[in-house]
Amino acid sequence: MKTPDEEIRKMIDREELARDAEVHEVKAYQHVFRALSTEQGFELPEDFADKVVNKARAREKSQAFPEIALMLIGQVGITFILIVAIIMAGLIFDSGMIRAFMNHIEIIVGGAVIFILVNFLERKFIRFLY
C-alpha cells in the first residue's frame, strides 16, 4: 500500500492536481486514500486450498476412468482384428517374414518418421486445445 502522501506527490507530478491545489482538495484525496485502505477483504476458509486440491484430484479421477476404458476397448479391438486378420490371411510367423520386412527398410523408416511427426504435432499444437 502506497502512503497517501506518496500518492498525493505522484498525482502532483502527473499534474493531476494543479500546483496551486487548495489544501481542502489534498485533504479530500487523503480521506479517500485512507478510506480505501480500510477495505475489509474477503477471507477464504482455512481449508480452502485443501478443498481445491481435492476437487482437482476428484475431477482427474473421474476424467481418467473413461480414458482408461476407451484405451482398453481400443486395445482389445486391435488385438481381435489382428487375430482375425492373421487367421484369414493364413499368416505364419517365421524368420523369413522378418527378413522380408528388412528388405523394405523404407517402410520401417517411414513409419518411424510418421510416428515422431504425429507426436511432435500433438505436443506442439494439439495438446493446448484441451
Binding site: 479530500a28 478510506a35 480505501l36 486450498a49
Partner: protein, 185 residues
Amino acid sequence: MVKDKALISAVLQGDQQAFRLLIRQNERLVAHMIGRLVKNREEVEELCQDVFMKVYDKLGTFNYNSRLSTWIASIAYRLSINHLRKRKLMYTRFPDEIETEKIADMQAERTMDDHEIDLLVLNLSDRLPPQYKTALMLYHVDGLSYSEIVDITGQPEGTVKSYIFRARKLLKEIVLKYLGKEELI
C-alpha cells in the same frame, strides 16, 4: 520469476503439495479481487475455486510474460466480469453523480467522523462500474503498477489511467461535498 518456474514445473508434474502452495500464495489476491465485485459470500468462494481450477487446467500454457500472480489475477478478473454479466449485475455507466440522499440526511444532522467517512467512500466505491473499481483498488490498495493492471484487465494503459483518475476524482468530490471545504482545512 525463478520461484514461479520451479513451482509451476512441480505442479505440472502432478505435485499436489506444490499446487496447494500455489493456491495459498495467491488466494488472498484472488479473494480480494472477486470479493470487491461479487457481494454474495458463497458465490465468491465458488468463483475462487473456479479460478484455481482454471489455473490448474491452463498452467501449461502460462508463457512467463508476466508474474504468475498477475496471470492468476487476470483469470479472477475475467471470471468475475463474466459472472456479473450472466447475472446482469454489471453497471456499465460511470455515475457522474452518485445518489447519496440517505447519507446527506445523516450528515445534515451532525458532523461525520472518520469512520463514517470511510464507510461512505467504500460504499460509494461499490457503486462504481467493476472496471473502474478494480483498477482503482488494484492501484491504490494493492499497490500494483499500471502495466500490471493492464495485464490483469486487458485494457489499454490510457483506459486504465482514465478509470483510476475518474473514480478517484468522483470519490474526492463526494468527500468534499459531504465534509465541506471548511472542515477539511
